[in-house]
């Protein structure tokens, strides 16, 4: 107990802050902050596995998040039959063609010795393959996108419950990470960072512009939810009774039946959103706890010790007979898969998939700030980082407004300088993040909750 005092107190403060938001602003707001904190926590756990356990820099978090979101669309949306009829066959043919290209390139790589001819051969196969792909997919894509473009215009998904997508998202992200890892893991640390950053941009570009896949920038809205809808809840008998029970005190004060009815209706509407968010928060908490147990177990297993050994001294670990390349690839895939889960969770929570909103600032660099601030190598630290940084990110505006008003209290309301500052409040969050990151890196370089190595 004593040993973990810092962890417990840090989390207590964090929860206290969220509850404070509930009292000061609204419970709905507090719960949505909590939900996004939990999602961020999953992302930071993924990044922490890669950076904290193995020392791999992955700046491609945005790409995996988006792939997780894509999985949510592809799993939950019902299939668009018409689109499949007009273009499905060609698209399946394309999938086969891609597989064929990949296998023939692999075949060339395996079969022939290193030479200029081999490179030309690979290039030729890829170019011919791409041209064929263009020819086959072109008309199909056109006809798919022409099917009812205002609402569908894409192939649709499988029509399964959206919860499955959390697993599928992990697989998508893991598969992408496998490809990226194969390409880029041999690179030096900061090259890896740049390469992953750029590759994640490519992923976003593809998702944005291949409309047949997930409508691109036209967005997919109205995804199914794993929890009840507010509108349904408001008509349910048991829910209204529940709300009545909870607010017995306030309701009993009012004697007028009509007024009482009115208040109850108001309360039911308010509590329905809170209830939905509570359900989400519960689901997310379950995911976080499961992942936390698994990652903690892994961290203190022989495998975790090996990863730390590789991180701290790659050559020594290699000399001890550990396959560094293979382990790096494995941990790269695992970490990215966890980020993929978070991506799917986020789209599930939002109920919509907006590829245009995936930006590296929010989905890559912010997550990195979380990991570094929280404490890399320590799962509790990473989760705390996710909570603290997201909290600050959301609450930055009110804090900035307060500070501006405080420091410029001598100025008039119409002072141009003050008005300018108040208008640029949204950008103070960047300043806070940057200064926070710099301060933590300078004075507490191992994060708020630093890594603890259990001695055996």
């Amino acid at each position: 107990m004593r040993k973990n005092l810092d962890v417990i107190s840090a989390y207590a403060i964090m929860l206290g802050l969220i509850i404070l938001v509930g009292f000061l602003q609204s419970w709905s707001m507090a719960l949505s902050i909590l939900c996004f904190c939990l999602i961020s926590a999953v992302m930071t756990m993924g990044a922490n596995i890669q950076w904290g356990y193995a020392g791999l820099i992955n700046f491609g978090i945005m790409g995996y998040t988006a792939l997780g979101g894509l999985a949510a669309v592809l799993v939950s949306v019902p299939p668009v039959k018409e689109a499949w009829q007009v273009g499905g066959f060609n698209m399946i043919l394309c999938a086969f063609l891609i597989a064929l290209i990949v296998f023939s390139v692999r075949f060339i790589i395996k079969k022939y010795n290193k030479s200029a001819k081999k490179n030309y051969g690979i290039a030729a196969v890829i170019i011919v393959g791409l041209i064929l792909l263009r020819l086959i997919s072109g008309p199909a894509i056109e006809s798919i996108e022409a099917v009812n473009p205002a609402t569908t215009g894409f192939l649709g998904g499988m029509g399964l419950p959206i919860l499955f997508s959390w697993i599928v998202g992990a697989f998508f992200a893991g598969a992408l990470a496998y490809i990226i890892g194969k390409i880029a893991l041999g690179l030096r640390a900061d090259y890896l960072a740049i390469a992953t950053l750029l590759i994640s941009e490519i992923v976003i570009a593809v998702i944005k512009h291949e409309d047949w896949l997930a409508r691109g920038v036209k967005n997919v809205i109205g995804l199914k939810r794993p929890v009840p809808y507010e509108v349904d809840l408001q008509t349910k008998e048991w829910f209204i009774n529940l709300v009545e029970k909870f607010n017995q005190g306030a309701l009993n004060l009012i004697t007028d039946t009509l007024e009482r009815q009115e208040l109850l209706k108001q309360l039911v509407i308010e509590s329905s959103t809170v209830f939905v968010k509570l359900c989400f928060a519960g689901l997310f908490t379950v995911v976080v706890i499961i992942l936390l147990i698994i990652t903690q177990k892994a961290l203190y297993s022989p495998w975790g010790r090996m990863m730390r050994a590789i991180r701290d001294n790659e050559e020594a670990a290699n000399a001890m007979g550990k396959n560094v390349v293979k382990q790096h690839l494995l941990i790269f895939v695992l970490g990215s898969a966890i980020v993929g889960i978070a991506g799917a969770m986020m789209v599930t929570y939002d109920g919509l998939f907006t590829p245009g909103s995936y930006r590296p600032m929010r989905y890559t660099f912010l997550i990195w700030v979380m990991v570094i601030v929280g404490g890399s190598g320590n799962n509790f630290g990473a989760i705390l980082g996710g909570f603290a940084v997201w909290f600050l990110w959301v609450e930055a505006a009110p804090i900035a407004l307060f500070l501006i008003n405080f420091f410029t209290s001598g100025l008039e309301e119409t002072n141009a300088f003050k008005v300018h500052l108040v208008n640029s409040i949204p950008y103070f969050r960047f300043l806070m993040m940057g200064v926070g990151l710099l301060l933590i890196m300078r004075y507490r370089p191992r994060g708020i909750l630093p890594e603890k190595i259990k001695q055996i």
């Binding site: 570009a205 944005k208 600032m361 570094i372 960047f430 300043l431 200064v435 890196m441």
Partner: protein, 336 residues
Amino acid sequence: MDFLNAIVLLLNYLFVPALSYGSQLALGAIFVSLIYGILRFAYFTAGDLMSFGTMFTILFTWYFQSLGINLGFLPTALLAMPFGIVITILYVLIKDKLVFSYYRTQKSPPVMLAMVSIGTMFVTQAIVRIVIGPFDRRFFDGEKFILKANEFKEMTGLNEGLTIKSTQVITLLVTIIVVSILFWFLNRTKTGKSMRAYSDNEDLALLSGIDPKKVVMITWIIAAILATIGGALYGLDKSFKPFTYFNNMLPIFAAAIVGGIGNPFGAFLGGYVIAFSEILLTYAYRKFFVYILPESLEPDSLLQLLSTDYKFAVSFSILVIVLLFRPSGIFKGKVL
């Protein structure tokens, strides 16, 4: 005649834009490459430093405009640029003093410094957005075109027009001047040579009495100059928007790596490689082939290899290919 038309078409839509875009990228890539070679870390603030410099150039441009000072047919921004450069130099030097110098004395690994540069990226972005806002701004004034399409058509009697914007010519001229001064400085002067020595082998350079503080300071000053010029030229040519500048960091990094990071000349050429391939691969060649092929063979599709949406993706794919086959870049930079 058709053949000439085809050439002019390519010149107008491919060559001229790619050349100016490439110059803007090249300026950025050179300073990223220099910082990588001498300070030994990936400088993620690159794009935002450019927007910082451009922002001050714009502020000074507005100030001069309000005073009624201008350069006639040249954009006022050229006059404002030196002032922007001075402020950017001050900014990077202060930043180095407050932030980066600590990690150098600690001999932190490059990854740590790259992380720190992400911190400064956030701060710089915040400053730019708070001071000038996130909006799209144009600050070009003066003569817009050097050669208009109609004039060219009348002059030559061709069907295709050639437009040359003055910003394109300015970009090219300024780039040539700046880059030649830079390479003269690096190759001929004592300070430049000491910088290259420091980049090649730090310990050996220190042993032979090179002052690391001076080398680092000069590197930052060069970085600030190149960032401001590159950013201001990009802003003159297109427009100034902080978010675009942040995004430009990606092709700049691609250019630096493709050219061989740590090698300024490679980075310079890398900028053009990226720019040309981006534009070559996303251009619709239909009209070109209409001119060049006999009528019976005229194509009916757009003949576009990739849609323009994939502009960025092209440069990154080139990067990936280069990383796979020649990890030290086309023009041998530091070995990974």
